[in-house]
Subunit: 136 residues, 2 copies
Amino acid sequence: MKIGELSRATGTNVETIRYYERIGLLPEPARSAANYRSYGPDHRARLVFVRHSRELGFTIEEIRSLLDLSDDPTRDCTEADRIASAHLAQVEDKIAQLSLLRDELKRIVGRCRGGLAGDCRVIEALADHSQCESQH
Amino acid sequence: MKIGELSRATGTNVETIRYYERIGLLPEPARSAANYRSYGPDHRARLVFVRHSRELGFTIEEIRSLLDLSDDPTRDCTEADRIASAHLAQVEDKIAQLSLLRDELKRIVGRCRGGLAGDCRVIEALADHSQCESQH
DNA sequence: CTTGACCCTGTAGTTGCTACAGGGTGCATA
DNA sequence: TATGCACCCTGTAGCAACTACAGGGTCAAG
Ligand SMILES: [Zn+2]
Ligand SMILES: [Zn+2]
Ligand SMILES: [Zn+2]
Ligand SMILES: [Zn+2]
């Protein structure tokens, strides 16, 4: 299949596919006489893996390691577990951090009673972290 | 005060302060005979405002608008409220989205029983979104 | 008078794409 | 046969919000 078909088949931007090839995440495919890229089912599966992992928030470097593992089925899978667990922990950290922000923002937004910017509690709160209740 | 002092006083990287000046978020300060930047309390307050807003997740463009408002105390503060509320909504969206990811990642990580990469349920789950329980 | 801490400008790197510019290819239609 | 049009190619630049130099100047202490 040509790059446009692969793009439609996987919901991936054409430029993104070329980008993944450039950074070595996808192998260089064969070329047609007109120098068009020509993909098979393996390329497609690999791209699906990459896209799905990206949707789950893995970084490109993490995906690179995961692909290395899945390329060599005789290796131990501990590494895959480690990467996924570390990523899960990161996501949980991020949620905790955003929850602090959310609470702080709620407090700040709730203070505005309308009126002039000079008296606005929102602007005042942004200027002064000591009004905050957490170390966000 | 010199840039290094302002940096220590606000916990902001020196390069970041220069960056904010370059993009017009901080005004150009006076210069000493040796061409060193020289800051006063107003610069400091403005930088504190910027850093605190950044810590709360506002974008530079949002902060620019908020600074404009606080520069003109006779304006109506509705705009400040609107920016902060919109930002709060975005943070809540992000938390919801990350919570989906977290649940999906927990399921995936829980499947690994150790062994060979070829049999690893983690790698299998990454290759196949239909095993997921949500549209993350 | 030299060492070290600081300051200056300007530019390039980071992450993960996205968006052209400026060209070539392939097929259908008038 | 010409001519659209959709698609493909390479290479480069842009986004956010910094961060990290390189290559130089300034200043006080020892
Ligand atoms: Zn207000
Ligand atoms: Zn705060
Ligand atoms: Zn496993
Ligand atoms: Zn999925």
